[in-house]
Symmetry: C2
């Protein structure tokens, strides 16, 4: 099934079930007010949501309405955990190579993961509001899973059974803040502002055969200012599957229901597949020509991130955002998605 | 006022108001079910809690009961944000000195901060459950604040007004996992298991004159296996005040209500004040004798962290925990606090 959280003026929004074709939606008010509440009691709530979903797809509901991604918050507008991996080690290797650094061999078997802020996620068509272009504003296209409760010490096989939902992510990064921040030794912090998520979160069964061994074997499309710049396959070159990432997370602690785990920037070794973050393009330029030519995002730039199924239908709806300078919010007149 | 969250079988527990002397409590059920809900609508909810608090202190409530820290969850059993600073730069400098490394001068004016897991906090007397002593189990005594909504770009002066509550923290650390983890460049992750918090969270006015310029000017006491090992003053050598830490946090994003910001391990330059984490003691030994002699915690060890006011009365109640091997939970028979 497909689930969305609609803006209703509250911090956590209103849970809605969305039809498979993303055309209609139905409030889940008789079932669970919010997605977090559904996740807190999934085995009881999910079957009720599934039933509503089937009725909605069959056109048998009486209070359905047109689904509009612009009304969406992130499926979890705030979450208790956002842990982001770097599963596409190819990307990590490129970044190192561009600065003439060796990547430790251990990166191929020990996942990189950082804890991100999760208190203030932004919706799929919300503006990316930042103070300065000098920070090196970049998008990062990723896939993420939402888990149920995962006990400490769980194996990848056990972790797989705790994956409840999948989403797309735009893990906005401030590239020019990263070097100084990483040099301090404590990891990313100011360089990772609020992330945004796709209009809907979907259960793994919605992916059909494309959900294989805890990976999503479909291209992730990144469209920057209207131009398709990347469509790497998320199932290719993903060194650590989602179950492996979750097992890494729970080595020394439990993960509780509603934890979001990201794949890291999707990247294929085949450079012909393009890029889902500008940094990767710049690294390739650096390696080829000794200098990066593609600039980072400017105020007014748009980024669209989506994933289509084998029939060309959008699975998650599109993240479609515009970068806006703080203080200019609401003055631009149009959101990215309304262009 | 003083607030606690009582175990009631739910994920978020039951909000209660606790008397100033920590002897009695009263369920806040007519006001707010959980602490997060109170923080979500603080200006409306806090005055009602304050009124109940005053009645409780005056002995005018009819449904009060004895307050028992063993019934407490963390004040926020799960939170949307836990960001931990390293304000006691003396501690950072000692750690570097022990491994013959220079601390960058920038550390004196640019705060170190990492994002921690916040989905599964443990209560003040809950066991610290871990799989292996080989991980180098350590306690870390800290002070933390809980904020309301803090807009991106807020100054320290603005941030000060958004501090709602203070708590004590035991930021459990796995010292032997840290070197390899930091070498990966993404900061702490597996080396920071679930943190625990004091029985009550208090509003800043409860600290009286001890709340000065966004610092708490009282000793933090660490009692390891019954022996007082440290009582550094949390207001001394705190290079970055809480408002400064919050301003660092919100440079590139908003912080939303219920965000928890930690001070880092409390540490004074005066080594006579002892230590609130074993790592610091070991660093001093390393610098003096070339080798660390004090071992990390063993299964069965207890740690008590508390803060007394000028009259020797506990402000927050005590964190009092035992380290227990996973699989042995509930088999030990007694919690640390019942000894």
């Amino acid at each position: 099934m497909k689930l969305a959280t609609l803006k209703d003026g509250t911090r956590d929004g209103q849970l809605a079930v969305v039809s498979r074709d993303l055309k209609t939606a139905h409030i889940a008010d008789g079932i669970a007010l919010t997605l977090q509440r559904a996740l807190d009691d999934w085995s009881f709530i999910a079957p009720q949501l599934q039933e509503l979903y089937e009725q909605l797809n069959a056109g048998k509901t009486h209070r359905s309405f047109d689904f509009d991604p612009k009304r969406c918050m992130a499926p979890l507008p705030r979450a208790y955990q956002w842990a982001d991996g770097s599963s596409y080690v190819n990307h990590v290797e490129l970044v190192r190579k561009a600065r003439n650094a060796e990547m430790p061999e251990s990166f191929w078997h020990d996942p990189l993961m950082y804890q991100g802020g999760s208190d203030d996620f932004i919706g799929p068509t919300d503006d990316i509001v930042l103070a300065s272009e000098e920070w090196g504003i970049d998008f990062e296209g990723e896939v993420a899973v939402v888990t149920g409760d995962v006990p400490m010490g769980s194996t990848p096989a056990q972790a797989l059974s705790h994956i409840r939902l999948l989403m797309l992510v735009n893990d906005v990064s401030l590239r020019n803040l990263i070097p100084a921040e990483l040099a301090k030794g404590f990891g990313f912090f100011q360089s990772k502002p609020a992330s945004s998520f796709s209009p809907v979160a979907v259960t793994p069964d919605e992916l059909g055969d494309a959900w294989q061994d805890g990976k999503v074997t479909l291209p992730l499309r990144a469209i920057w200012n209207g131009a398709l710049v990347g469509q790497p396959n998320a199932g290719v070159d993903m060194v650590f599957s989602f179950p492996q990432l979750i097992a890494h997370l729970v080595k020394t602690r439990n993960a509780r229901a509603g934890s979001i785990i990201g794949s890291g920037t999707v990247s294929n070794k085949d450079a012909g597949k393009g890029y889902t973050c500008i940094a990767e393009k710049r690294c390739l330029e650096m390696i080829a020509d000794g200098e990066a030519k593609t600039p980072f995002m400017k105020f007014g730039d748009t980024i669209k991130i989506e994933m289509l199924d084998a029939n060309g239908k959008s699975i998650f709806g599109a993240i479609h955002q515009q970068v806006v300078q703080v203080g200019q919010v609401g003055k631009v007149g149009q959101t990215a998605a309304s262009r």
